[in-house]
Symmetry: C2
Subunit: 337 residues, 2 copies
């Protein structure tokens, strides 16, 4: 079994696995060369190109997993939501009413986003056997943030006030998104994805009670619908240090955490039944190599024994990162046990 | 003694005190009317106008404290940093080199920002006796974020990578800012401020080790220099839920926290020697009144007994908040014990 899948299952891997959030992306010259010719939306909707971009970092680095190149908003476009990338997603008609929510159709992945499933098949045909492919989706509350606000925002104030002002409509929207993302992820697994990841990029906007009522309830719904899909499920929460107790009994194999959490404390709170993914600060890749090695080692020390730890950054890699630093980081992780 | 100052000292207040971060600001029609005539920088630099704006919310609401109307960047302008507000601070020449850091002058408040001290004297002359005035400054790391990035940013990537790439230069800048803010706050106390607050708006950008090495070390330096100034010191950390253990022994009377922290856990970790300020979600002011009352009550329940708790939002009030909701919130807090 690959080191990545062994770690997801908390078994002893041959080495500590590492991959990097946004490893296919703007910090790579070969990605920028392709983007100079093709816009972002086209990349995500053209299976051959999405596969090419997904595979780019595997050709450079000894990564232990691949992750589908796509966007969390892609399935929403498949549900008829009009949006553009500028570069963050801008929704033509933000969702603010129950009528809009009730008119959202169910997602039928094979019909609505066939190019994603085709990209997965192409990647599985071309990727090295020992490098599993991770499929992904946005977690329902994070998608709600974009749908209600209409565009990226520091505070996502409109989305947060919507939860308080319209809690029933919010829950209805979250349930709809939870079901759609469950269908989307199940289709990705059926097409060949060997692990599935839910990105809760905006968990850190909510206090503990609202997180549990809205965001976590929706993730539980998605996870329950994916029970029996046969591949490990990873739930990444950004800024989730106060929420670890709440997710300890979530039915997922892996919890992904950001760099602000102490990993030792995270593993203590989550207990032995969960694997953990993370959590080097993306800014640490700007340290001199000797310091980067020390910082990577500190994450490994905090994480403890290799079974059940997948090394990653705590957030997506920054576009101005030096790819040579990524190569060094992967070496530093692999030389540790 | 006022309820606010009693709570700072963990003594029994006559009632649970409440004030609101950014209580003087854009959600008030009378503030917007003044701003239609005068730009933001002029407001902060004209003692009569700064005093008028500071006092505006006290005329509407039964608030238990006033806070000086100013900006965390104001003393940096006094140190020769050129900046504009657009509306966030934009620094003409971002700080990126040791030479720039070494050329920063010390702050002499009476010479460099006399208008701030004069505003404090005017406010003290006009404010009700039972409503103490809080002076404030930005915490050194938060100021560094603006100085290095040059403008507000979601990630403050340039500042965070600067810490890793140039740790010695970063520490030098932080020490310089710590000393300047200590001088600034001491001068505010001498002019009549009855409590002092340090705003660490960007604590949540740092992992625990970097927070302690950079941000907290600088705050300790400021706090040590303010020892014996005779007024309580409040340290507000935004997104600090993972950092409470680190600040438990900081020499300040009050720790202010955001809405993502569970207050019961915060008080447990901080122990009986610290008062706590916070932490209702600013978005909660968009809930219907009955729900707002329930949410305010939940904060009070979490906070526990009144001695040592100052009710506040967990972050600044949003500009589109209904002032009537603020009046209700203050009533809901005061009706509780």
């Amino acid at each position: 079994m690959s080191a990545f899948l062994a770690a997801c299952r908390r078994e002893q891997p041959a080495h500590r696995p590492v991959w990097i959030m946004r490893q296919a992306g703007r910090y790579l010259p070969e990605y920028r060369a392709l983007r100079a010719k093709v816009d972002f939306a086209t990349l995500t909707r053209t299976p051959e190109l999405a596969a090419e971009v997904t595979l780019q970092p595997l050709k450079r680095f000894a990564l232990d997993a691949a992750i589908l190149f796509s966007d969390i908003m892609t399935p929403l476009q498949g549900m008829g939501i009009e949006l553009t990338f500028a570069p963050g997603p801008v929704v033509a008609q933000p969702i603010r009413t129950l009528a809009q929510i009730e008119s959202l159709p169910a997602l039928v992945p094979e019909r609505d986003v066939p190019f994603v499933l085709e990209a997965i098949r192409l990647i599985r045909g071309a990727a090295p056997r020992e490098v599993p492919l991770i499929g992904f989706a946005g977690a329902p509350f994070t998608l709600l943030c974009y749908l209600v606000c209409g565009k990226p925002s520091k505070e996502f104030a409109a989305a947060r006030s919507f939860l308080y002002a319209e809690p029933q409509a919010s829950e209805r929207l979250l349930n709809c998104l939870a079901d759609a993302m469950a269908a989307y992820l199940a289709a990705q697994a059926a097409a060949g994805a060997q692990a599935l990841m839910l990105f809760e990029s905006w968990a850190g906007l909510l206090g503990p009670a609202e997180y549990q009522r809205f965001a976590l309830a929706a993730v539980r719904r998605t996870a329950q619908r994916l029970r029996g899909c046969g591949v490990p499920l990873i739930y990444y929460l950004n800024q989730g240090s106060a929420l670890m107790g709440a997710v300890a009994d979530l039915e997922v194999e892996v919890i992904g955490v950001d760099w602000r959490c102490g990993l030792a404390e995270v593993r203590r709170v989550l207990g032995p039944a969960k694997a953990v993914q993370g959590n080097l600060d993306p800014a640490a890749l700007f340290a001199p190599p000797a310091e980067l090695r020390r910082l990577a080692g500190a994450v490994v020390e905090q994480a403890g024994p290799a079974p059940g730890h997948i090394f990653n950054l705590g957030h997506g890699i920054w576009p101005d990162t030096d790819p040579d630093q990524v190569a060094r980081l992967i070496d530093y992780v692999h030389e540790r046990r």
